[in-house]
C-alpha cells in the first residue's frame, strides 16, 4: 500500500539545533565524533507505519464525533 503522507520539515516544532547543542554540551569529543559517524546509518533505519494503520486511527477518531 502506498504512503500518501508527505514528509516535510516541520519549521515550527523542529528543535534540532537546540538538541544538537545539547549533545555538544553533554558528550565528550570522541563520543560526539562517533555519534556523528553513525547517525546517517541510524537515520536509514527509520520506518513509517502502514497507511492502513493510520486509516484505522482516523476512522476511530471520526467514530467518536
Amino acid at each position: 500500500m502506498g504512503e500518501t503522507f508527505t514528509k516535510t520539515t516541520n519549521t515550527i516544532t523542529n528543535n534540532a539545533p537546540m538538541k544538537e547543542a545539547e549533545m555538544h554540551e553533554n558528550l565528550d569529543a570522541d563520543e560526539l565524533i562517533f555519534y556523528h559517524s553513525i547517525r546517517t546509518e541510524l537515520d536509514l533505519l527509520k520506518k513509517e507505519p502502514k497507511l492502513q494503520t493510520i486509516h484505522h486511527i482516523l476512522d476511530y477518531s471520526k467514530s467518536l464525533r
Partner: protein, 194 residues
C-alpha cells in the same frame, strides 16, 4: 493557514474543536519518530503497528476527554504513552525486549537504492543488518535512550522524565550506549564509511 506551519498546540486545539485535519497533521508530523521508536524496541512490524495504533487511540481519547495538559509538548507525551505500552507488552509477555531476534526489516524497502553494484549493495545491506543487530544487543535501558534520543528526537530532560531517571542517568546511558556500540563495531571490524 497551512497546517504544516501550525504549532502542535494549535493543531491540538483545532482537533479538540472538531477539525480532524489537526489530528491528521499531528500524525503526519510524528508518525516516523514514534513508529520507529516502537519498532526498534519490539522488533516486530505487526506488533509495532498495533502499539502505534493503540498509542494514538489513547491520545485521541485523552484529547477528546479534555484531559490533555502537557503545555504544548506533544511528542514527549505521545512517546511516553508509546513507551508505557511497550513496557506493558513485555510485562504481559514476561520477556525482555533484547531476546527477540526476529528480523523482518528490509532496509531497501526504505532506501530504494538500486543503482549500486551487487557487491556494494550486499556490503551496504550487511552493514545495516549488523548495525541494527548491534543496537539490539545493547542493554535495554541504553537502547531505549539511544532510540528516544536519535529516533524520537527527544531531549535528555524529556527522556529522563519518560524513563523516570535523572538527566545525568539518561546522559550516562547514552554515553554507555555509544561506547558499547563503538566497541562492538570495533570487535566486528564493522565500518560505516560506505
Amino acid at each position: 493557514m497551512d497546517f504544516q506551519l501550525k504549532s502542535d498546540q494549535d493543531l491540538i486545539h483545532q482537533y479538540i474543536t472538531g477539525e480532524e485535519a489537526g489530528l491528521v497533521e499531528l500524525i503526519r508530523r510524528y508518525q516516523s519518530k514514534i513508529y520507529t521508536s516502537i519498532y526498534l524496541l519490539v522488533k516486530d512490524e505487526y506488533l509495532a503497528e498495533d502499539i502505534f495504533q493503540d498509542t494514538f487511540i489513547k491520545v485521541i481519547n485523552t484529547l477528546k476527554a479534555g484531559k490533555y495538559n502537557e503545555e504544548g509538548k506533544f511528542l514527549p507525551w505521545v512517546t511516553r504513552i508509546a513507551h508505557n505500552l511497550v513496557i506493558d507488552h513485555f510485562r504481559r509477555e514476561k520477556r525482555a525486549p533484547m531476546v527477540n531476534n526476529g528480523d523482518d526489516f528490509d532496509i531497501f524497502e526504505v532506501l530504494g537504492n538500486y543503482d549500486e553494484s551487487t557487491e556494494d549493495r550486499m556490503v551496504r545491506e550487511q552493514t545495516h543488518k549488523d548495525l541494527k543487530q548491534l543496537i539490539q544487543l545493547l542493554p535495554s535501558e541504553q537502547k531505549e535512550v539511544l532510540i528516544m534520543r536519535h529516533f524520537g528526537d527527544l531531549s535528555f530532560k524529556e527522556i529522563a522524565d519518560i524513563t523516570d531517571v535523572s538527566i545525568n542517568t539518561a546522559l550516562g546511558r547514552m554515553r554507555y550506549a555509544l561506547n558499547n556500540l563503538r566497541k562492538m563495531m570495533q570487535s566486528k571490524e564493522l565500518s560505516l564509511k560506505n
